[in-house]
């Protein structure tokens, strides 16, 4: 230790060496050894206790992450792809005969789009086969302008 310039301060070292001397003297070493061995024999392993302390924290973090991921997935599914062609309000169940030619063209175009079903407008709801002869004639006339 003589290579240390600072250690020329013998006083500091001397004081440091005295630190804890009393506590060490008072320690009953034999009793401590017996107590340690007894605890090793009876207590659960330290690693388990450490894990027991760590686990709740990690579980909480994992639970929060799962919630965030789950919420994200649900939100994506709810929103779904948006149709490129906006449907007129009457297409959901109104009378086709009341629609103008342009509106009917929009409805037909929307029916051909794959995403149209997602908007709750199924082909069965507005199929041309379901129209009566009068309605079909009216439809054709309106298309002819």
């Amino acid at each position: 230790m003589n290579d240390d310039v600072t250690l020329h301060d013998d006083k500091l070292q001397e004081v440091a060496r005295r630190l804890g001397a009393r506590a060490a003297e008072r320690l009953d070493v034999e009793r401590t050894a017996e107590a340690v061995v007894a605890r090793l024999r009876t207590e659960p392993r330290a690693e388990v206790r450490v894990l027991g302390w760590i686990q709740p924290a990690w579980l909480r973090i994992a639970a929060v992450l799962l919630l965030l991921v789950g919420a994200g997935v649900v939100a994506l599914n709810v929103r779904g792809p948006q149709p490129t062609t906006p449907l007129p309000p009457a297409s959901a169940g109104g009378e086709l005969s009341e629609l103008s030619g342009d509106e009917l063209r929009i409805v037909l175009a929307a029916l051909e789009e794959p995403g149209a079903e997602r908007q709750g407008v199924s082909p069965q709801d507005v199929s041309l086969e379901d129209l009566s002869a009068l309605e079909l004639r009216a439809l054709l006339e309106s298309l002819e302008g």
Partner: protein, 183 residues
Amino acid sequence: MTPAEPVAAVPTDAALIAAWRGGDEPAAAELVRRHARALARFLAGAGALEADVDDLVQETFIRAFRAVGRFRGQCQFRTWLMTIGGNVLKDAHRRSRRARVVPLGDDLRATDGDPHERAVAGEAERRLVAGLEQLPRMQREVFLLRAQQGFEYEEIAAALGTTPGAARVHYHHAVRRLKEHMK
């Protein structure tokens, strides 16, 4: 003439550790006997209350024996033990969060010499303990391992996971600050 019986060699720490890993409880008890007092001095120097030292020593040995599979002999068992003791003490302080009050009683006073010298010595120890508590943990532990326990920088560095040069720097910073504190 019967051949002389070989003198029973004192088992090394490494041999005792190996024996403990094989389930030999007396080997663990012997390791406690060898290192408990040095560990108690280290803990007291690092800020443990005297009343807590016994429990802290026990807890340190328990943790060490449980984790002895991770001890690769990179440093002495005693040095490694003291680094674990530092963790145990930190955890204890965190749990209790009680203010450390350095007692001015017998604990910090020399028991021999004239009363004036004892009083001066006690005051110096009180100031040193107070100064140590203000140091960063690495500086405090390096200082204690060096000045109190007498370990070499290589040994301290191996135990604390740093380099001898860095340990030396920590020590010098600690000494400089402690000197300022003790002026």
